[in-house]
């Protein structure tokens, strides 16, 4: 493949510019950067084509050479190309310098270790100082533009790495004093000076003769990176925004220049300011921003240095210059602007904000500047737009809005008008044209325009934006809000299609306008017949404004409208209103309407929906209904609205699986009553309502258990124990698996599995009720004992005793079941085991370490359980 021609390059560049990311991802992307550098040296391409290649490297270096190493290599190649240019005039030298600078600075390659930086910096400084660089740098005629370009390149490098030129301040001052090009040198010096001051102040170091530093780096000599390194890798704000700059001021105060240094600094600044007239207006503005913030707070630098420039600047129509004056105002305040000066500045600003010779964007910017004016003595809170004190009513009135203004100008001026109205709330009542009355007329005019049939959306938006602005500023003034409310209602009457704007407005304004507006709009809608062309808009509004007030009128409207809701969209809109009413707690009449809709609507989806709402209304209590109908995350009116709403309902009406906030434990045994009863203790971590505990016995050993219900449980508030009657089918221990169903405070119904509850063997123990009170207890026991055999089983075992002895063991575990006791050595125990078994124990002749136990039962399967139980007693203490 031969080298790409001019046309192929044009095509390639075109494709790249159309979408750089797509191009770089494509097959040609990888080679573009490399090809571009090679082609710059091709003799076949014209200079014009090469300039367009360089333009690409000026704009997209990060895409062409994505890392520092590639950028370094590219910059080296660009510098090589520059050196290799023949000594005749060439259009490539400037763009090559610009490109090498851009690639180094944007590619993070600029630094003391970069070979390209070490080549570029002395070269630029040499060019900037007008030094003869010998052949290769073109004819003498090109030197002057190259000198300016070199200054610009240095300025950009200094911007990206502040302090880079810290060593060159003296040189730059000399050059400016001699014959160098004024503008590039002024701007470069101002920036380098500012950066040096800031860096030195941050390091809490003095100026150390920075301003009179003798020679700049000698050609070929090493570049001094010290100040740049001191400044860190970060760029410095050249014109910091005001609030941010407040902190920096204290920083500069630590610089304590010696009287001589202060004099030098003053001389440098004066030198720059004196020749500032020679700079283009935009460059003058840059100089003023740089110097203004550089000197702010610096000892020995009176802001009065700027004074000679101010009158000249105040007279101009140039936006950048007036803006720079405002920046000086913000930087120095009273130190540079007396109250009279401030008043003059405000007058010029007011004048500029409406001067017929200036364009609209300038007017708007000046209006903004007026409302954010840096006053000497601000009264209001910082950062909030306000009319400056010295603006006065006369100046202010010249800036009032009229319907003839452009929308943005109208809003800006309207804001000012609102601020004026807010100020003289008490004054001027009853006079001919108070600002309030004018405001009212203006809003009426805007509404009239919004009412224009077929008018553009922008007119409607403007009307509502103006209304919103007024409400925000004048929410406490009924004189303004009442006519506004009625005006808006009239606008709705005339053009219901603006319903989305009304809904949006209601969403954003506070109750001052919101509540009365809701009321009048509801009234407006429900007083109409239900078969309006604008029915969909009425329903949209009603879905927003319907509430518990006068529900019968609303329901009447809906009943009438239902007959005309012939398509799905309208039916859904109608049902949305029903939903709003349900949320508002309307019940009476609504159930009838929903039932009627469930029969009457054409669309099955609508009918289903109405039925669902009816069921919800009929079955759910108020709060739960509110939650169920709460805002759903799903976008409404997609496919079936049932599907859409399901997400909301599903969350509320279906049972959610959740980790249980409930802890269940078995309390002390209660050996009484006809059957065994488990005492359960419940604790909760969060409020739980309508708790239902469901139990299931593993292995069908017991009859199914009833659920236990608790209406309300709160954390830290103990509830009385829950009693769970057990109905064993066999006298055996088991485990109960437990599930909990409950409602959360948010109204959700949750389901949780709790850890199983063990039912131990001893939990089944019951005493024999028919044991006689006195008398023949021994006989009763013997009778039981004998009856166990021959059907049952008998056993003997050794029950170990703890240190407390037999008496303690019996009283702790077996007390309710003792029939005959001869403390401390002998006890006869009879235990009833439901459903119909018995366990009899003779504990006799206890010794120090244990007691021999004889046991009989009428159910052989009980024996091992009893054995385990008795052996475990001493372990449980």
């Amino acid at each position: 493949m031969g080298p790409p021609s001019r046309e192929t390059w044009a095509q390639r560049l075109g494709a790249f510019r159309a979408s750089p990311s797509a191009f770089m991802a494509g097959p040609e992307g990888e080679d573009l950067g490399r090809d571009l550098l090679i082609e710059l040296r091709s003799e076949k391409l014209s200079e014009q084509t090469k300039v367009s290649l360089l333009a690409l490297s000026l704009e997209y270096p990060a895409q062409l050479w994505p890392d520092a190493a590639a950028a370094e290599a590219a910059a080296t190649s660009l510098l090589d190309t520059l050196v290799l240019l023949p000594p005749r005039p060439s259009a490539l030298r400037r763009p090559l310098l610009l490109a090498a600078t851009t690639v180094l600075a944007a590619g993070d390659a600029l630094g003391p270790t970069s070979g390209a930086s070490r080549r570029l910096l002395p070269l630029l400084l040499g060019l900037a100082s007008g030094r003869d660089l010998g052949r290769g740098f073109g004819p003498a005629s090109e030197q002057r533009p190259l000198q300016a370009t070199a200054c610009e390149c240095l300025r950009e490098l200094e911007s990206c790495k502040p302090g880079l030129l810290g060593d060159c301040l003296g040189l730059l001052r000399r050059l400016l004093g001699q014959e160098g090009p004024v503008q590039p040198l002024s701007l470069l010096l101002a920036l380098a000076l500012r950066n040096a001051l800031v860096i030195r102040a941050k390091a809490k170091a003095g100026l150390q003769g920075l301003l009179v530093a003798g020679d700049a780096p000698t050609p070929g000599g090493p570049w001094n990176w010290a100040l740049a390194e001191e400044g860190g890798a970060h760029p410095q704000p050249q014109a910091p925004s005001w609030p941010a700059a407040e902190d920096e001021e204290c920083g500069l105060a630590v610089l304590e220049p010696s009287p001589e240094e202060a004099r030098e600094l003053r001389a440098a600044v004066a030198q720059l300011l004196d020749s500032s007239y020679l700079l283009t207006p935009v460059a003058q503005a840059q100089l003023l921003w740089l110097l203004g913030w550089a000197l702010r707070g610096l000892r020995g630098q009176p802001p009065v240095l700027f004074k000679p420039q101010l009158v000249r600047l105040l007279g101009t129509a140039q936006l950048a210059l007036l803006h720079a004056v405002l920046a000086l105002k913000a930087a120095f305040g009273e130190a540079l602007f007396t109250a009279q000066d401030e008043a003059l500045l405000l007058r010029r600003l007011t004048l500029a904000a409406q001067h017929p010779a200036l364009p609209l964007p300038a007017h708007l910017f000046y209006l903004h500047c007026l409302l954010s004016f840096p006053e000497n003595c601000p009264l209001g809170p910082a950062g909030e737009e306000a009319a400056p004190l010295l603006l006065g009513p006369r100046l202010g009135r010249s800036l009032l809005p009229s319907l003839l203004h452009d929308p943005m100008a109208l809003l800006a001026r309207l804001h000012l008008l609102c601020l004026l109205c807010a100020e003289d709330e008490e004054e001027e009542k009853g006079q001919g044209w108070s600002p309030q009355r004018y405001l009212g007329e203006l809003l009426a005019g805007l509404r009239q325009r919004a009412d224009l049939d077929g008018g553009p959306r922008a007119l409607a938006a403007l009307c509502f934006q103006a209304s919103y602005l007024v409400v925000r500023c004048l929410a406490t003034q009924p004189l303004v809000l009442t006519p506004l409310t009625h005006g808006l209602a009239e606008l709705y009457r005339a053009r219901p299609a603006l319903a989305p704007h009304f809904v949006d407005l209601l969403d954003r304004v506070g109750p001052e306008l919101g509540e009365p507006l809701r009321a009048v709009l509801r009234q407006e809608v429900v007083s109409r017949a239900g078969r309006d062309e604008a029915l969909r808009w009425h329903l949209k509004i009603l879905a927003k404004v319907a509430d518990g007030n006068a529900p019968s009128a609303t329901l009447g409207f809906l009943r009438a409208a239902a007959a005309h809701c012939t398509d799905w969209g309208l039916q859904q809109a109608l049902l949305r209103v029903c939903r709003t009413l349900m949320r508002a707690g309307v019940r009476e009449g609504l159930a009838d309407l929903l039932q009627a809709l469930a029969r009457q609507l054409d669309d099955p989806d609508g009918r289903d929906h109405a039925r669902l709402y009816y069921i919800l209304l009929a079955h759910l209590a108020g709060p739960k209904l509110g939650v169920a109908l709460g805002p759903s995350l799903a976008a409404p009116a997609l496919t079936s609205s049932l599907v859409a709403e399901n997400q909301g309902f599903a969350a509320v009406l279906m049972v959610q699986e959740a980790p249980a906030p409930i802890r269940l434990s078995v309390g002390p045994r209660r050996a009484a009553g006809p059957g065994p009863v488990l005492q359960l203790q419940v604790e909760v971590l969060e409020p739980v309502f309508s708790l239902e505990l469901r139990f299931r016995v593993q292995g069908q050993l017991y009859a199914p258990l009833d659920a236990v219900h608790v209406p309300c449980l709160r954390p830290g508030r103990p509830c009385s124990p829950l009693l769970l009657p057990l109905q064993p089918r066999l006298p055996a221990p088991t485990q109960l698996s437990v599930r909990a169903l409950y409602a959360t405070p948010a109204g959700l119904t949750c389901h949780a599995h709790l850890p199983p509850v063990p039912v131990n063997f001893e939990d089944l123990f019951l005493p024999f009720p028919q044991a006689p009170d006195d008398g023949d207890k021994q006989g009763f026991f013997e009778e039981l004992w004998d009856s166990c055999l021959p059907k049952g089983a008998e056993s003997r075992l050794w029950c170990p005793l703890g240190p407390q002895g037999l008496e303690a063991l019996v009283s702790r575990h077996l007390e309710p079941f003792v029939v005959v006791a001869q403390p401390p050595t002998s006890y006869h125990v009879a235990i009833r085991l439901p459903p119909d078994s018995r366990l009899l124990l003779r504990l006799e002749a206890a010794q120090a370490g244990g007691v021999p136990v004889a046991l009989r039962t009428d159910h052989w399967a009980v024996l091992p359980l009893a054995g385990d139980y008795l052996r475990g007693l001493s372990a449980t203490g």
Binding site: A55, A62, L98, T102, E142, R144, C153, R155, E156, E179, P181, V182, H234, P235, P237, A239, P240, S241, A244, S275, Y277, L278, L279, T280, V282, A283, A285, V311, G315, A317, Q318, L319, H323, L326, L344, R347, T350, H355, P356, P361, F365, L367, R394, L395, S402, L403, M408, H415, W433, Y438, G454, G455, P456, R457, A460, A461, Q465, P500, H501, D504
Partner: protein
Amino acid sequence: MAQRAVWLISHEPGTPLCGTVRFSRRYPTVEKRARVFNGTSYVPIPEDGPFLKALLFELRLLDDNKDFVESRDSCSHINKTSVYGLVIGGGELWPVVAFLKNNMIYACVPLVEQTLSPHPPLISISGISQSFELLFGIQDFLFLGQKNDTELNTKLNQLPDLFLQACPFGTLLDANLQNSLDSINFASVPHPQKQPAWRVGTYKGKPQVSISITEKVKSMQYDKQDIADTWQVVGAVTCKCDLEGNMPNVTISLSLPTNGSPLQDILVHPCVTSLDSAILTSSSIDTMDDSAFSGPYKFPFTPPLESFNLCYYTSQVPVPPILGFYQMKEEEIQVKITVNLKLHESVKNNFEFCEAHIPFYNRGPITHVECKVSFGQLEVFREKSLLVWIIGQKFPKSMEISLSGTVTFGAKSQEKQPFDEICIGGTAYLKLHFRILDYTLTGCYADQHSVQVFASGKPKISTHRKLISSDYYIWNSKAPAPVTYGSLLL
């Protein structure tokens, strides 16, 4: 103070994208600084395609803006300046300085040297005014003196080279792009010491100074008891100084005749070196003292090479040049109109042209016109629903002329008929268009002998004056009309 990117977009309604990016320029070194300064609030400069789409949406320039879209039409989405936030790729690109003029959208994004959330006030961002200067500069370069599309395309093609010159790294060096173009051409001329950066090159040839004063007169006339008529003169003084030397000094004095109206609200070109404080404080809004300064108004300056606007001013003359009334009454499908115009006796009765345009908005097409004029002739432009009363070069001796008659309209159809957001119902206006040469309403003139030039050779000095009408409205006095607060303070 730097710009991150600049765009020039032609607005093309009716095409699929509704616009084309005609020029764009990005500044990667500035972008790098933006990333550091903006921190987590940094949003990169998008590619042209997404930017075009987002900007046109925000400016309401897409064709499909019929429906309510919250992000654009919400009442809380209030824009009071030409600075926008564009939602692109999930982030908000802010501040985008943009405006539409002559079907061209000018846009750029200035560097903000701090975090963007919350947005700092615009007044505290140095790059904002630089953005405006850049965009105004491009606009002037493209459209001043531009005659046709070919010329526009030529100029658009020059922009990449001009940006290398005027804004090589995103920091604007000169908003006057024509100047930059000249400096490319003048590059080989050795520059002497202390030459203004805005005066590139030198002039060689016969010295001459040309001064022209153009006054535009605006008016709103209501013919109502409770609403005051308003009128205002806006003047512009344009100079072209062809003088040899590096920094020739010129002083031009504007003078008023004894009964002339004082000049107010004076804005001067930045090349003016000093200003009398009386000039600075003479204001139409709030005169500082009762004795209005009536000149002479001296402007010392070093002229740029090209033609420039030395100053602008406004003035409040005692009476409007033409006073009139317009009465329009609607009677079903026709309207009855009566117009009366009277030229003030002090005004030079020698027009280049003088016409009264009577438009009818928000109505059906004109089907029949039956009108009588006391002077001049009436033309009917049915397709524009417009009557044009051609008054000609002179008012008659009586200085008063009138028109009366009826205009009948057909049924209103949605399309084609002129739409206007102000002229609703009976609200209607007539607009006067006229021009008088060698005349100013204030009487302001530049005396040839008072022009001082400190340069080699005695220059030839020429002066010109003219008065033009601009926004000269006479509202239907039989219906409500839009008013400014000023006209309510009788």
